[in-house]
Symmetry: C2
Subunit: 468 residues, 2 copies
């Protein structure tokens, strides 16, 4: 795209370069300049044409004072929606700078899940100051939504869902949704509850739209909807929403009362944070509680030292294996040339198998009961891989150490690759069977064990064949 | 949950064990039994109370004949929706077994993106047989949707979106949506187009619901909506939908005409397949074009042999490094004990740094411009990690080979960990800068280079300190 030269040229452009759909830096500088010149009308006019997610991105780049000024140019409703797009830390900065009444008004307009998240992040003093400025219903809602543990469905659900009564006719229901449209997180799915808040059914607005005027909600609603408990893992909610293509998933307490909903966009956020978690799970880094950019040196040190030290102990066994065969090695120093290559190949083949199985188990492509069949297939593949590699190293073996060394090295290669592959594919199944996450089996454990076995197999074969 | 003993006890239960929300095997066996007994009414009654995603899961477990019987118990509308939940291979099996007219009726009722996907998978003969049974408009729609390349937005978009005209009043627009509600993929977002199909604006049903009766669509719609080109990468569509919390994203051709929409649930599917792709990207396995379960032995061999052989050549350098220091090693065989441990630690520290940076770059937590600052922080962390590890190995060093060996090993450890960490964190930035995917930098390349440098540093230090 051609660079805009003023805010009035500025448009959403998906064809702009890189991952930023908007030139955030440019806009932020322009906003700051206009505000400094006292031209807040131009800024207001510009912001009104922008998506609130982008407005939040601009504010992130501004200093606190101009960010405040710019934010106050939005309507209260837009402010409340925009703040949900800010980073948690920025939300807290804004909230703590605001007057008690102003913050209370903003939080009243916010969606219930986002304001509960913000409330949890305020320090105790700020929380205590805020509560009296809120209505009783809002205080209770805040306390209730904040009470669920992190990573549960309750911690991501929202309580501003739209409700209908079973005896309403279609036009009455439509009118009821109209009345709730501004407040509710979504009106595209409505929840039918009795006086004790038990969930009776779910009705999509689409079905209401095409209903005949005489039809009642009770006859239109789905009486066996998909639902989830507030105490369940949030990842489960994301899975259900994806599996059943839901707009929102109702959340029930243990008495089957409706306590909230999880919407599809929240599910996408949950899915992304689960991906990050899974990403670290198969790696050598323990999950961080914050982003890498915000993490302190101590946090990063702690997240990393565990695996590094643990793997040192794993490698001591490899070292001990080598030490055990010191005489063989001293007699045939040419063997050392192939040591890194053979050890690494076993670990690599094992990591490949583990990677494939971890992902296949996670997506449901493969089940525990498929193990036997997959093991047979893996043996064939590993044999083919091992033979290919053996041919490659045998050639180098002849050149570096003669036919005897070549024989040892190629025999070791086939054995090590097969061993690594079978072990690498079995471990995720074992973990799944034991009720542990297969992803944690993928990385370091496979490599460490393959290393040790690789040393033993290589020098074992060498000592038998060469020391006769 | 207590196991159901008959289909009538069977309910959706998110608290059932494992990842399966429904006991698919049990239900499939029951369905087959009832159908064999000729009791299709019980099966129909059961299926009507089930989510179509679950019905699809049952049919997957049945043989072709009973699966067909069960499917025909659903209404055509439900059949058309259910088939979208079947695996692609099963869809083709069903489609090829159907009569031409029956298949044409089913495909007419299917959502446009799903029928285009199915059509693409049929062999040429089946395609040619099917086309004459479809209406002209449908033939053209199929041809157009099938013409986009895999992985583009065009290949995942659907053409059954709801449209409105700008001059409609709010009640007229509501009536227009009612008329399109059965056919359209979603009515929760409507697209306002002119006669040449140019996109004029977007209107959410929620805003229409709360509009005053006199208001016109032209005054209610968002005239600067977020959109994407049909030729863009499908991943970009998923990102836009997540960023802007959209229900659906309009897709424009190069003449700015509306050609389709991508819905939020399609975006979730795209996001999942991108995760799988990213998962393999940082691994030693080239991406497979099919699921692991369906892949042939040859496909898996090809996906794996590339990295295995490539890394053999990487490790030859390590081997050559060892061979270069053969004399030092022969004089101090105790050094060998620490070889696996030191080499692995460099690779491990490097992999950790790379993992953290790859994820942080992917999520946008960190930008290229942060490199200098992060490098300084990494140096401090690596020094701390290296010193911790050095203390650990020095103790073993004294025990295994005396104070001189301990000195060599601990000096080598600090140097190798720092070198590995700095290299591991720099590589993803370098890849990003060069416009390549940082994820591909994470795994094998970091480890291989760290291995080679580790050998050189270790024996380099040893030869200087011990051979004096």
């Amino acid at each position: 795209m051609t660079k805009p030269t003023s805010l009035s040229d500025f448009r959403f452009d998906p064809e702009s370069e890189g991952d930023d759909y908007v030139d955030v830096q440019f806009v932020a500088i322009e906003i700051a300049r206009l505000l400094a010149e006292g031209d807040s009308e131009s800024v207001r006019a510009f912001l009104e044409g922008q998506e609130l997610a982008d407005v939040a991105a601009y504010l992130e780049e501004l200093d606190t004072e101009p960010a405040f000024q710019a934010m106050r140019l939005l309507s209260l409703h837009d402010q409340a929606e925009m703040i949900g797009y800010l980073r948690p830390a920025s939300q807290v900065v804004i909230a703590t700078q605001m007057g008690r009444r102003e913050l209370a008004a903003l939080m009243t307009a916010m969606s219930h899940d986002e304001r509960a998240d913000l409330f949890k992040r305020l320090d105790e003093e700020a929380q205590e100051a805020l509560l009296p400025a809120l209505s009783k219903a809002e205080r209770e809602d805040l306390r209730r939504l904040s009470s669920y543990e992190e990573s549960t469905v309750g911690s991501v659900m929202t309580s501003d869902y739209a409700t209908l009564k079973p005896e309403m006719t279609a036009p009455q229901a439509m009118e009821a949704l109209r009345a709730q449209a501004l407040e509710a997180e979504t009106v595209y799915t409505a929840y039918i509850i009795d006086d004790a808040h038990h969930l009776l059914g779910v009705l999509d607005l689409r079905d209401l739209l095409i209903a005949r005027p005489r039809q009642k909600v009770a006859d239109l609603m789905d009486t066996e909807p998909v639902w989830i408990r507030a105490e369940a893992e949030q990842e489960e909610a994301a899975k259900l929403i994806a599996r059943y293509d839901l707009i929102a998933l109702p959340v029930l307490d243990t008495d089957n009362r409706l306590v909230g909903i999880v919407t599809q966009d929240d599910a996408m956020d949950v899915a992304e944070s689960e991906v990050t978690e899974d990403f670290y799970k198969g790696s050598l880094v323990n999950p961080l509680e914050t982003s890498v950019a915000d993490a302190t040196i101590t946090m990063l040190y702690k997240a990393r030292i565990y695996w590094l030290v643990l793997l040192v102990f794993g490698n001591i066994f490899s070292g001990a294996g080598i030490a055990y065969f010191e005489d063989t090695i001293a007699a045939h120093l040419a063997l050392l040339f192939f040591l890194p290559l053979l050890i690494a190949s076993g670990g690599n083949a094992g990591t490949q198998s583990a990677t494939l199985m971890v992902r296949a188990l996670a997506t449901g492509d493969v089940r525990i009961s498929d193990f036997g069949q997959l093991l047979g297939r893996e043996l064939v593949i590993a044999l083919a891989l091992g033979l290919t590699m053996a041919v490659a190293v045998a050639t180098i073996g002849v050149w570096r150490g003669g036919p005897e060394i070549a024989l040892v090295v190629s025999l070791a290669m086939v054995s090590i690759v097969i061993m690594g592959a079978l072990f690498g594919m079995s471990l995720p199944f074992l973990f799944q069977r034991l009720g542990r996450d297969p992803a944690t089996a993928a990385g370091p454990l496979v490599t460490s064990v393959a290393d040790i076995l690789g040393v033993l197999i290589y020098f074992g074969i060498a000592s038998v064949l060469l020391d006769i």
